[in-house]
Symmetry: C2
Subunit: 713 residues, 2 copies
């Protein structure tokens, strides 16, 4: 087992040297196909340069994964039954495990053959969704959850024992955290692991039906072991949820004694994954099977932990598994790009209804409503991308160990929650919009979008339900606000801490959390002000600050209230909490988009990306227009003008739509949608030629109107 | 073939008299199961009475159809392959055809065994989606499109010739209108039907690939004939699109000479329908196969039509087929009710996270965010329902021949377009929200929602793309506005016509289209004003009037402009056009909801429905809040208060959520979602009992915190 995290080395070693991998380097985006018609005046995107910059921090790894995804062996085969699809996806996972590049091992410790590069690993992972989201998630279960639990929650000795089997897939594993009765509220799972000092074993037990482990990938068929989350009980004390390595099936696939379960059966999507349920009837595992990085039980049953606070210990353990959320955020971007690339390519050739020119129908993207449906989503997808790249950075900083501080971990978790909760929702809406923008053709499986959307559906609720995640984000924001208040009113040292805290914040926000509303209101009465970067920044930053402040102040009385009153106060402001979290996510994305625009070297590309960032800003303002006006941030005259201003921007971006989509580097083999890869264009050309030939030959029938005219004359 | 449209007769004949139909009468809604916990103070819904009133104008037919849908033989079987599913749905259609009630014939002329009751027919049709949306749509293709084309576009002689085979399904048929190249723009289809006077035949021909008929139910396998829409060419003149009866397969299922096609293959949903493509290579059919109600060709090739204007003739033919849109609006309501019933039932028992009471977790529906997700959608579903009932009335008035006037037809078409375009979009969003509100369980096929959503997906683009339909609606509104202006500035007679026109309008709007903005702005500064019915009416009516007026005035210059300029002006305002149409649909629904509230006899029910109507009104205002504030219709203070006011309403409605859902009369056999029909409740009860028993026996482990405390003391 050897591999390396150095992408340069990988790039230098051509794929052809390795006959066992068919992966050709990802083809450069065809800038030529992205340009339509005659040369246009004005700024142009340097498609190749933009594509290369979008490959991000680990370009070779991302390219390699994309090349994998373009290989037919990794494509979703829509014709398969559930049973066949599951077999295919398991086989694909084995191919990933056996691939000599070992991209899926990149995140693991180098001493075990990994690459020590968790960010590069995820950059590749999220591209797997191009092949088949079932593959991404099945691989995510094996390497991102099951193996990661061993890696993150186990001691080095435990890693040495169990990681190799998890990494090379000789031991497919389930990540047995969620129960039928408890998903979001992991702390309340019912499964128990009771220590028996007489035999030095833990007894894993499922006390009732609601405590069955549920929805587990590798649970129904393939898993031989599971990382089981259960309440650790020793000496009559419940030390909260811990993770245990539990063998569940013998190598012939039969359940081990005391283990049982059932198949989750058909799902709305991701049918290539064998999700299932597990239960344990007094199953004994050795004391050493407690993954013991954050809590250990001595032979005599004494519990010790490096983290004294049970709450902090629990959240540290959960936080160690944040990579799932990070990779779903990435996959949400991947899926959005596929949908938009299909819809934009189709919308650029499909014609419907004649307008100004009687013989030529209008291309869909030349309709104002069609531009409205797609171009703001292109903009938001770019915003998603830049924020995701920052998230990968943060993730790599922490999980490579380079900057593994408590603050960084907290930032990472907050950002992952904010991004995942909003990007997965965005991806579903976007895929639906793209499917409808392709009309009936969009509904055909051969055009891909419905299948992709069905697979992505569950991204909204797994790895943290989006509603619950937004609440986590909001609570963090409210907490930060509380700290800042405290800091402001106490000592100079306190003040400094507050400022330092804000500096971390600034990493994401690039602007202090609070900003006087007055400034904003003054600015945004001027026509055209919304195209000003500082105005946009002020509008978006101030909105978050105002919303967080309002909800924080409203929640203050809850701190000293009895539980029932506290709950009632919370209930009154829960909707506002989530709203603040969403606004925060939009602000973060706008900041990182803007940073990327500023860092773009090519002037033409920078100009067009700037317009696209403006589209994102105006879209965000428009969907919360009521808030901005009601709260005096935007003059009514400016608000009234917004729709026309946005439409004008979209017209300006219309000629760049194909370029913006081409820069994503998705080839026909990635899109695999007949309607977007030539079929529609061929049909349009054929029809046009038919009518032209008819006119030329004089064989076209007269219209009724002109026949009547001739009859009269 | 005998049947009757009198529901009373049907009701008097118990299903048991007919052993060949297993249909039991639809069970009355279980008001008992809808009530939770101890008696509550305040108004209560009379669930049975509300249920009965919701059955609408043809209660027995709707009940009978719902009873059908509760029979396992009509359920979607999720385990089937596409081929098996298609077979099952065809067999189900045969069962419908053979059912002695002949509900699917209700709309056809009585002389052919129909019931002459088109409204009753549709009321039943839309309930078929409860069994399997593929069944609804396959039945819709056969009876609603193929047979209806013969009925609506054929002469009585043609009806006598072809309707019986279409009605009894001995001739399954395809409705061959859409082409790969032209969906929404039917006028531009490429297929030609050229008259050959020498043989007195039409030659049906597909000139290029884009003119293949596409997405046709019964197209890939089952169709023996098709109603083919093609441009009628005779004597070198193109008389526009007409419909032809064309045999396509022999009884052994082989294509007839000159006919070919292919299977559309897998789709995102509705996999029980054999959608396919057809092409014609100089296929000859007798002159008599032109469905000749609106256009005829004499033996010598002379074309005549009762409608001189080619445009009006075309739209009259298309308008005759409006019933598809009406029934999709109904099915969108049906699907929304299923999704909401599942999510509300689940949300009423599912618990997650402890709050005020440490031993008892909070029921999902007791979270403010969960109420926000579901209760406004219950309100909108009621609004959908009442508007749909009016649409059925209109449809029955016109298609029974009782009030078949041009104005009524125009009203019907506008209302069908407005309702279908917005209700199908709403249904998709609602099903997604419901699926997510059920978490991971919602993603399992056994809980129904993902499957239903996949089937409903295409409702957004077939039978008229929603974007195109909204544009039709907007153009009608703008046209009416133009007429009203003209009327106002001319003669007293003109004025009268304008007023009369508004009277028709009033049928839908119940309020004049225009209303001074001043009035509204005055009203809506008062706290609580938004709960006032007249204020709501003013806000919603005035919004439509203002938007229509603005866009109508903006479009005026286009009338006298050259085509390119006209197109440019139109492009500037297309987004606003669609926005106006959506606002119109909301206003219509609000009016009809309000009318229904006022007509509710039971005081408690009326009160609760009134709150629900307020929820609908506030939701509509909230999602366009920017418009209301920017345009001076709502004071900023009122706008700011709206969120809290809506939340308060939702809290007030919370105890009625199950009743509101129970009144829909959906039984466990209709819902067929384990998670909503007892499984979750049983699990919650079991877990609660387990922990209670543990506490009672004193065997519950201590918490870490309390163990530490004891250790210290």
């Amino acid at each position: 087992m050897t591999t390396t995290s150095d992408p340069t080395t990988q790039a230098a070693a051509p794929a052809a040297d390795r006959p066992e991998t068919a992966a050709a380097p990802a083809p450069a985006p065809a800038a030529a196909t992205a340009t339509t018609g005659p040369a246009r005046p004005g700024p142009r995107i340097d498609v190749t340069a933009l594509h290369d910059s979008l490959l991000g921090r680990w370009p070779q790894w991302r390219s390699a994964a994309r090349a994998h995804a373009a290989e037919p062996r990794f494509w979703k085969d829509e014709s398969l039954s559930m049973a066949e699809h599951r077999k295919r996806v398991l086989a694909q996972c084995h191919q990933l495990a056996e691939d000599p590049r070992h991209q899926v091992w990149l995140g693991f410790p180098e001493r075990l053959g990994g690459g020590g590069s968790p960010g590069a690993n995820l950059a590749g992972f999220e591209e797997l969704a191009i092949g088949d989201p079932s593959l991404q998630i099945k691989a995510g279960v094996q390497w991102g959850l099951f193996a990661s639990a061993i890696w993150q929650l186990g001691t080095p000795e435990q890693q040495d024992r169990w990681l190799p089997g998890a990494m090379d897939l000789s031991v497919p594993g389930a990540f047995a955290m969620t129960e039928t009765g408890h998903g979001s509220d992991v702390a309340a799972v019912g499964t128990t692991a009771t220590y028996d000092p007489d035999t030095q074993e833990f007894v894993i037990h499922t006390p009732f039906r609601g405590a069955w482990k549920d929805y587990l990938g590798n649970g129904a068929e393939d898993g031989l072991a599971a990382t089981v989350f259960a309440r650790l009980v020793t000496g009559g004390v419940d030390y909260g949820v811990h993770c245990f390595y539990v063998p569940i099936r013998s190598s012939d696939g039969e359940f081990l004694p005391g283990v049982g379960g059932e198949d989750d059966g058909l799902k709305g999507g991701l049918r290539g994954i064998d999700n299932g349920r597990l239960w344990f009837d007094q199953v004994r595992v050795p004391r050493e099977n407690l993954l013991a990085r954050y809590g250990q039980v001595a032979e005599d049953g004494t519990y010790t932990s490096p983290i004294a606070s049970p709450g902090r210990r629990f959240f540290t353990m959960l936080g160690a598994l944040v990579q799932g959320r990070v990779s779903l955020d990435g996959a949400a971007g991947t899926a959005s790009r596929i949908g938009l690339a299909i819809a934009v390519r189709y919308g650029s050739v499909r014609r419907q209804f004649a307008a100004a020119t009687p013989d030529e129908e209008v291309v869909l993207l030349d309709y104002a409503t069609h531009r409205r449906r797609l171009i703001p989503r292109i903009a938001e997808t770019y915003a998603l991308h830049y924020a995701h790249e920052r998230l990968l950075d943060l993730f790599d900083d922490v999980f490579s160990g380079r900057e593994d501080t408590e603050d960084k971990r907290a930032d990472l978790e907050t950002m992952a929650a904010a991004m995942k909760a909003t990007s997965t929702a965005f991806a579903l809406d976007t895929l639906q919009e793209c499917r409808e923008a392709c009309g009936g053709a969009g509904f055909l499986t051969e055009n891909r979008i419905t299948s992709l959307r069905a697979d992505l559906d569950v991204y909204a609720t797994f790895e943290g339900d989006n509603t619950v995640l937004l609440q986590l984000v909001a609570k963090r924001l409210v907490g930060d606000f509380g700290k800042s208040l405290g800091a402001q009113v106490t000592t100079p040292e306190g003040k400094a801490r507050f400022v330092a805290g804000r500096a971390v914040d600034t990493l994401l926000h690039r602007t202090p959390l609070r900003r006087a509303a007055q400034t904003v209101a003054d600015v945004v009465t001027r026509p055209g002000a919304v195209f000003d970067v500082e105005t946009q920044r002020a509008l978006l930053a101030d909105r978050v600050a105002a919303k967080v402040e309002a909800v924080a102040l409203a929640l203050r009385p809850a701190r000293k209230a009895d539980p029932v009153t506290a709950q009632r106060i919370f209930d009154r402001h829960q909707v506002a909490l989530l709203d603040a979290a969403r606004s925060h996510a939009e602000q973060v994305r706008w900041e990182l988009f803007t940073e990327a625009v500023d860092a773009t070297p090519d002037a033409g590309t920078r100009t067009v990306l700037g317009w696209l960032r403006d589209v994102y800003a105006l879209t965000v303002v428009e969907r919360d227009l009521g808030w901005f006006v009601v709260n005096g941030r935007l003059a009514a005259s400016r608000a009234r003008a917004l729709e026309a201003e946005l439409d004008a921007l979209l017209r300006r971006l219309r000629p760049h739509a194909l370029d913006l989509v081409a820069a994503w580097g998705l080839t026909d083999d990635h899109l695999r949608a007949a309607v977007a890869t030539g079929a529609e264009k061929a049909r349009q050309d054929e029809a046009r030629e038919y009518y032209a030939a008819q006119r030329a030959a004089g064989t076209a029938p007269q219209t009724e109107k002109s026949a009547r005219k001739s009859a009269k004359s």
